[in-house]
């Protein structure tokens, strides 16, 4: 059930990324929704969840892009695995460490993805530094908001349900 929810989240992120293509800051794509979901699953589920989410999410993005199939998958698999390891070794429960984790994951993903393309001479990335910085900030912000929502929403619903239940009783 959890795996299905994760798969649905990844597919939803890929579709939403397509739909929100115009979401940009000064011409640069501000977020990579699939990467945010991968890192979130890795931090909450560990290295296996991270690498599986990275593989699936990366391959889906590759399939919808003109590049080499597997490049995004490779980068996201490594990032998912490392983020999962990081999540099991360190306590990542407050806002700043989470923000940094998402930003670092974005930077690592950019190095792997752009590095692999550049090493093979298949593609150049003008303005790589600026675009990575913009995305690191965007992904970090979105990741933190996602964590807050995932943690607070069920508790808020629970409280609401409890209050409603108390009122019904005579």
């Amino acid at each position: 059930m959890k795996a299905l929810a994760a798969l649905a989240a990844l597919l939803l992120a890929a579709v939403a990324q397509s739909a929100l293509g115009g979401l940009a800051w000064r011409g640069f794509a501000a977020v990579d929704l699939v990467l945010v979901v991968v890192v979130y699953l890795a931090l909450t589920g560990g290295p296996v969840a991270g690498l599986l989410a990275g593989t699936v999410g990366g391959l889906v993005q590759d399939a919808l892009s003109p590049g080499i199939l597997g490049m995004g998958g490779l980068a996201k698999t490594v990032v998912g695995f490392l983020a999962g390891r990081f999540g099991t070794q360190f306590i990542v429960t407050s806002t700043v460490p989470r923000l940094l984790a998402f930003a670092a994951a974005t930077a690592a993903h950019a190095v792997l993805f752009m590095g692999a393309y550049s090493v093979l001479g298949l593609r150049s990335f003008p303005n790589a530094l600026v675009s990575t910085a913009v995305q690191a900030a965007g992904n970090g912000l979105l990741g933190v908001i996602g964590f807050q929502l995932a943690e607070r929403l069920p508790r808020a619903l629970e409280r609401r349900r409890a209050r409603g239940g108390m009122r019904v009783r005579p």
Binding site: Q17, S18, G46, V48, G67, F125
Partner: protein, 282 residues
């Protein structure tokens, strides 16, 4: 080894996933260009999901804007917009014809230009990966769309088809970091190559330092690349600065607003572009 045992050994799983990806990549790189069956099938099915999403959101939007708000006006508006689009494209073709005729009148006898055959398409999705600047259109191989066909909008060049699926196609935008087009400054006929920078802007390379280029000049396709028909607007020069040596550094603002792109035209006759290229070379 049971599945549970594998899950307990993340290192092994990680190595397996890496091998899978490296295998995938190496197969593609060594065989060079061309779409794999897996890529086509996955892209085809996922583009159907994108089409479904676009249809669902479009239906809700249409219901609201087309029925509740502007029941009759919308139909008329759509018809008029199509007319305007068609006229703007016609205008561009006429303008290209006129400026080329001016340039060659004294040198060559008048040539009949190859008329462009186009197919209208709707944009159903933007890029799935932020590292690429692409769009997905709702026309594919079944509509006669092929790889390397030029895609234009009434305001100018959009990009080229890189991956046609059965009922959808992936289009690399001209602003993508790896896109390029043969270009010429309309006013002075100074040639160069316009490349995308990935940040929504363009740069015109290989413009000689002696070339006459100023801010505000319109840059159009030269047709020399064999992909884009000649005379279509790429953008406007926003900055010209002295480069390192022999060339100017020319910044170009794209003519097309890619954030609002909804309808495009696929130039179906690749030979039209090839003919433009031949003319340009002559």
């Amino acid at each position: 080894m049971a599945l549970a045992d594998i899950v307990q050994r993340p290192g092994l799983l990680f190595a397996g996933a890496l091998l899978l990806h490296l295998g995938l990549i190496s197969v593609q790189v060594t065989t060079g260009a061309g779409t794999t069956v897996f890529h086509a099938v996955v892209f085809g099915s996922l583009s159907e999901a994108q089409r479904g999403t676009a249809w669902a959101t479009g239906s809700v939007r249409d219901l609201w804007t087309g029925y509740f708000a502007l029941r009759d006006v919308r139909a008329e508006n759509a018809r008029l917009r199509d007319e305007v689009n068609a006229l703007q494209v016609q205008l561009q073709a006429e303008r290209a014809r006129a400026e080329r005729a001016d340039a060659y009148r004294s040198l060559l006898q008048l040539r009949a230009r190859v008329p462009l055959e186009t197919t209208g398409a709707e944009v159903i999705a933007a890029a799935a990966s932020p590292s690429f600047r692409t769009i997905t259109i709702d026309k594919g191989a079944s509509d006669g769309v092929e790889a390397d066909m030029a895609v234009v909008a009434p305001s100018g060049v959009v990009g080229r088809v890189t991956q046609p699926g059965p009922r959808a196609a992936l289009v690399q935008l001209i602003i993508d970091g790896n896109a390029a087009a043969g270009a010429v400054v309309e006013r002075t006929r100074v040639q160069g190559i316009v490349v995308g920078l990935g940040d929504g802007t363009l740069r015109m390379d290989y413009v000689p330092a002696t070339g006459d280029v100023v801010t505000g000049d319109v840059v159009v396709t030269s047709g020399i690349d064999g992909l884009y028909p000649a005379g279509f607007v790429l953008g406007t020069v926003t900055r010209v600065s002295r480069g390192d040596g022999l060339y100017h550094e020319v910044a170009v603002q794209p003519a097309v607003d890619f954030s609002r792109l909804e309808d495009v035209l696929v130039v179906r006759q690749r030979q039209a572009a090839a003919a433009s290229a031949a003319e340009a070379v002559k």
